[in-house]
Symmetry: C2
DNA sequence: CTGAAAGCGCTTACAG
DNA sequence: CTGAAAGCGCTTACAG
């Protein structure tokens, strides 16, 4: 269908040189001296013919695809995961482009085998892959890693030396709780983002405990409730918290999506936020700043996660020295209205 | 770095046949009779060696990449556009996988030349591309199309016969306004999603006019205000509407993001929604159902847009007959609380 | 029923 | 300074 494109062969003929020379000139190979006239002649012909090198041929000859795969494991809650996709993907793509790599996007659908993505690696579609949301029982992933196929995880997979990039959940949770502490709260509840089998959930809970401990406040199991990714779980958990004695005056909800449900429960009880009860979320999904009152939360640097993952992966592919196995990115506390902090009115673009 | 993978050559040797036969058997080429024993022998060796065909070699020999590009033109408002990315991308990817294609994601950054993406096509990285958010002055796009490179647009580009997929903006706006009319409103204002040079803005405004006309309501220019993608513009536009005589009792805001600002203006005026004034948005971004009151809006089928675009593109690539140049997908009115319609409580997952 | 051979469009030692 | 040649791992007429 497409018009046949010119090849180096054609350029060589029209410029009256060999294909080798054409290749050397077009790739600007260093330490090769071709007479300036020849060089110019080749370049001119290439431009005239509107020549673009054939990527496939290049890949075959060089043994490199200069493409990385972004494997997107959809988690238990699609809406939730979708909140991270644009940032992650664009971060990864931008970093990739910086190094001259392309990005192949490969979601794993709920109805397909978990590790279908290995075909991408084994068939040499890609030089390396970023896997978002690894499963701890992913045998194929471990095999691939054994074979020294370049992999960077977004998330964590304990017990392996596969490189990974993640946020510092403990730190993030601590900043949220410290903020509430600094506002004078003592009875601070927590609703986790998910069951504690999820690493991130446990870590955020740890951060909560650490902050309290450092403030000299003793644990109160009643103030700890479990969320499960969605709003409904947050609503139910909040109801339980509201039946506690003493009533918490503030709640840290370790997921904005879960916090949406918690907010609903608060409204149902006709609590004024943040006057009667303060709330801080986690993630900074786009809805966070549109609810009333606008949700104070801990921002996850999705773009940075994607960028770092890609950059590290490319270092790995190109055998540059790797600094650390596990890269943790810092989160940022975004203070809005729901925590009751005196507001330095910040401009936020809707 | 990676372990060298077995090739057809190796399989041929170990199975004691020619490379041709191996290729024929592994590709299951029809109308080729290879003795069942030979076939089994080859298959067994392939399995034992954990053979995967080399995609690059295959591409070069076949002249097909079986990869499509999704070119993502970031619009004037990143937050806004990001709302569509997950659905579009996943729709496109799923359709692509169904036909055995891969998807290369290629964003065009604000700071790079608009038509950098043509390199993907000219270098044979992809067999075809989906371009989201075409610019009407994209000369390179037209050239590519001239050369018969397969392209499907997401959005519209008047004056060309390039295939495209979009939503039916006129229809969507009409359903929104009809809904308000059915609730008894007569003085219905509109805030456009963007300046009218954007096709979608004009179309949504047309839908608004059509609905009013069919209801026998005459135009009132004062009730028409222009939004500009973001919340601030919505807030400003709403302020203007609220100074109109007669005061509108309902407003159709042709973008949820703009509607967020309009809601703020309403709250500032201490208007009760929907009692004092009703509002209906457009897009159904994820924040729409978390604001208070939950926003009634017109849902854009992002997944369907991606799916259709990919499916049509693949038909084009494979030279299957194409049904129509311009595919318009229907939107769906999502009734929540902000319009004041009697609520049949629907379950929505947070 | 099966194989020898050309070709896809490049890169890259190697030789002169 | 430049070229002849091998090779990347497949597919695909073509021949027997």
């Amino acid at each position: 269908m497409t018009k046949p494109r010119p090849t180096q062969h054609q350029i060589a003929e029209e410029a009256g040189v060999s294909r080798t020379t054409v290749s050397l000139v077009l790739n600007d190979v260093p330490d090769v001296r071709v007479s300036p006239e020849t060089r110019q002649r080749i370049l001119k012909v290439a431009r005239r013919l509107n020549y673009y090198p054939n990527a496939t041929a290049r890949r075959l000859a060089s043994g490199k695809t200069r493409t990385i795969g972004l494997v997107w494991h959809r988690g238990p809650n699609p809406t939730y995961r979708d909140a991270f996709l644009p940032g992650l993907l664009q971060g990864a793509t931008r970093a990739a482009h910086k190094y001259g790599y392309h990005v192949l996007f490969r979601p794993i659908e709920p109805d397909e085998p978990d590790s279908n993505y290995v075909e991408l690696a084994r068939s040499h579609h890609i030089d390396g892959l970023i896997l978002s949301g690894p499963r701890s029982d992913d045998q194929q992933l471990l095999e691939l890693h054994e074979e020294r196929f370049p992999i960077v995880l977004h998330g964590q997979m304990p017990g392996t030396d596969i490189l990974s990039v993640d946020i510092d959940n403990v730190y993030g949770a601590k900043t949220a709780v410290n903020h509430l502490l600094s506002l004078g709260h003592k009875d601070i509840g927590i609703i986790t983002n998910a069951p504690l089998v999820y690493t991130a959930s446990q870590q955020r809970l740890d951060g909560y405990y650490q902050a309290l401990e450092e403030a000299g406040i003793s644990k109160n199991k009643d103030l700890v409730q479990e969320g499960n990714f969605d709003g409904e779980s947050g609503q139910a958990a909040m109801e339980k918290l509201l039946s506690c004695k003493p009533n918490p005056t503030a709640v840290f909800v370790a997921s904005d999506m879960v916090a949406m449900g918690a907010l609903k429960a608060m409204r149902d009880h006709e609590l004024r936020i943040p006057k009667d009860i303060a709330i801080v979320g986690f993630d900074d999904i786009s809805a966070a700043r549109f609810v009333t009152p606008a949700l104070t939360t801990v921002r996850v640097p999705t773009f940075g996660l994607g960028w770092s993952a890609a950059e590290i992966l490319i270092r790995l592919i190109e055998q540059d020295p790797i600094v650390q196995t596990n890269t943790l990115l810092e989160t940022e506390l975004v203070i809005r209205e729901s925590c009751g902090a005196p507001l330095v009115r910040q401009v936020e673009h809707a």
